[in-house]
Each structure stands twice: as structure tokens, then as C-alpha cells.
Amino acid sequence: MTKTDFVGMTNMTAQVKIDEVDVKILRALVADARTKLKDIAKECGLSSTAILNRVKRLKAAGVIVGSVLFLNMNQMGFMYAASIGMNVKIHEKEECLSIIRNRSNVLIVGESAGSNTLRAFVQAKSLKDLDNLKQSIRNQLGSRKISVNLWGTPQFLFDNIELEP
């Protein structure tokens, strides 16, 4: 089977075969990573050991790569979350990535194909902090175009993801 690859995506990762039970396990853990194995086992009609072995297999196969705690960052004092889109020259991309990656307040930064070359997800305690971050990125990148888009309260719809055996 051949698939259309995107620009920059030359090698497709080998797909891992999963079945209905694996899908149930993944869904349960995405919804709550602290779900007890015995609860998943009950839902699947299997033993806790069987579920544990499957979780181990999913980890070994690189399907499950970690876990994450989503905090309400507003309550942590970070009142602003924003996407920053940056247009940089292609030969400066790597350098820009490494500069931005190490800044505090920058949670995610990566390459993008579309209207921006790079995009970052950042958080700040005040608009002033956000502006400072933007200005300092601009100083690093020169006069390249930077767009800042402020987030409202995001809605998570993790159940929307299609996981198929």
C-alpha cells in the first residue's frame, strides 16, 4: 500500500496492529491515565494481567509514549495562552528552532507547513509578559513576520480521535 506523504515526511513509521481491546484500553487511558487496570479488565471481560500485558505491549511498540497532566494554567497564574506563528527563512529554521525552544513560557515549538514556517504554543502571566516574549523572539529572528493569536478556554475532545483496529 502506498500513501501520499507530505513534504518533509519521507519515511512512514511502521504501523502497529491493534485490536478492539487495545482500542478500549487506549480510550480509557486517554480519558484518565490513572484508570485502574481492574476497571478496564472488567469492561473488556479480561483479567487485569491480560490488560497489563497489553499495556506493556503498547508501550514496547511505541504506541504509548508517556503520560501527561493537563492543568488549568489560569489557576496557576498563567492567564494567557497563545499560538505564535513565525515566518523564517528556510536556512535559518534550525537556528530559530533552537533559540525559541529554550525559552521559558514556550511549551511547544515545531515546524509547520502552511502560512507559517514555525509555530509555538506559549503561556504568560500577563499581556506584558506575552508582549515581552513576542518582542524578544522578534529580536532574535530579525524583522520576520510574527503573528500572535490569543487562546480562549480550549475545549478538549479527545474522544473524537478515530482509533481503529
Binding site: L29, D32, V68, A113, V148, T153, I161
Partner: protein
């Protein structure tokens, strides 16, 4: 939030699946206290959820699409958000103040699935324009990098 809460939170950010009895030992309280405090932080909305990170490239996905949506005049953002909720593989939606009105992030399998998704969104009456950025990130719903960057500090207000 007291000092113990913060310590628990910091441990949970580092390892969201760490058993409560181990956290209890580290911070010097009983496992029940840890459980009660975590429950309180959930109820207060400070802890949104614990999730695992899946590498979707292993399951046939090639990346994520950032969908930047401009609303048609006369419609509010909520109408667009409601319309987006029913579209498979869109896993985050937020209002935006800036160059556009609503942003959605979706996991995408291939080129055709982006095209189909954008067409579906464009058919929503409240949507005027959709701009798409594609990233090759396939870790869902967040990246392991995101977890490393997140360090809860004591809020200055309390």
C-alpha cells in the same frame, strides 16, 4: 493551595501515573491525604485531567492540522465551535483573539483526510474561511516535550 499540594502537583506533572502511596511517602503524608488533595484539586478545576500520550504515527496518522477559522459575519464563535465538535479527529477547539476567530487542532491520516475535513468545515454556514497549517507532530493529545516544560510554581496571589 498549600505547600503539600504544590509538591504533589509537581510530582504528578513529572509522572502523572505515579501511585499515590509513593507520592505519599515522598511528601510525608498518608496515601489517603494525597488522594483527598488530588480530588480537591480536580473539583477546583486546577487539575483538568490525566491522560496518556499516544504516538499516532504508529496507528496510521501522519501529523496534525491547525485549522484557523474565520467566522462569517453575523455568526458567533459558539456556533462554529458547536459545528466543529461533531467532526472526527478534531481534538481541541478554542476561541481566538487575533488573526482569526476559532482554532481547531485535528489529527490527520493523509492529504485526502485534510481536504475532506476542510471541505466539511467550509460547509458550516457560520464559517467564512479556513486556513490550514500542517505539522508533523503525531504525539496525542500532548507531546512528551510539553510535559517536560510544565513546572507548576506557587501562584504569587496566594
Amino acid at each position: 493551595m498549600d505547600g503539600t499540594d504544590l509538591e504533589i502537583l509537581q510530582l504528578l506533572v513529572r509522572n502523572p501515573q505515579e501511585p499515590f502511596y509513593r507520592i505519599a511517602k515522598k511528601v510525608g503524608v498518608s496515601p489517603r491525604t494525597v488522594q483527598r488533595k488530588v480530588q480537591k484539586m480536580k473539583e477546583a478545576g486546577l487539575i483538568h485531567c490525566f491522560s496518556i500520550i499516544i504516538d499516532l504515527s504508529k496507528l496510521g496518522y501522519q501529523g496534525e492540522a491547525y485549522l484557523h477559522i474565520t467566522n462569517a459575519p453575523g455568526y458567533d464563535k459558539a456556533t462554529t465551535i458547536d459545528g466543529l465538535k461533531g467532526i472526527p479527529n478534531i481534538f481541541l477547539i478554542t476561541e481566538i483573539i487575533g488573526d482569526f476567530d476559532v482554532m481547531a487542532i485535528a489529527a490527520v491520516k493523509d492529504y485526502q483526510s485534510i481536504v475532506n475535513m476542510v471541505n466539511t468545515i467550509k460547509q458550516l454556514p457560520s464559517v467564512e474561511k479556513v486556513e490550514t497549517d500542517f505539522v508533523t507532530e503525531t504525539q496525542f493529545p500532548a507531546t512528551t516535550k510539553f510535559t517536560e516544560q510544565l513546572t507548576p510554581e506557587k501562584p504569587s496571589s496566594s
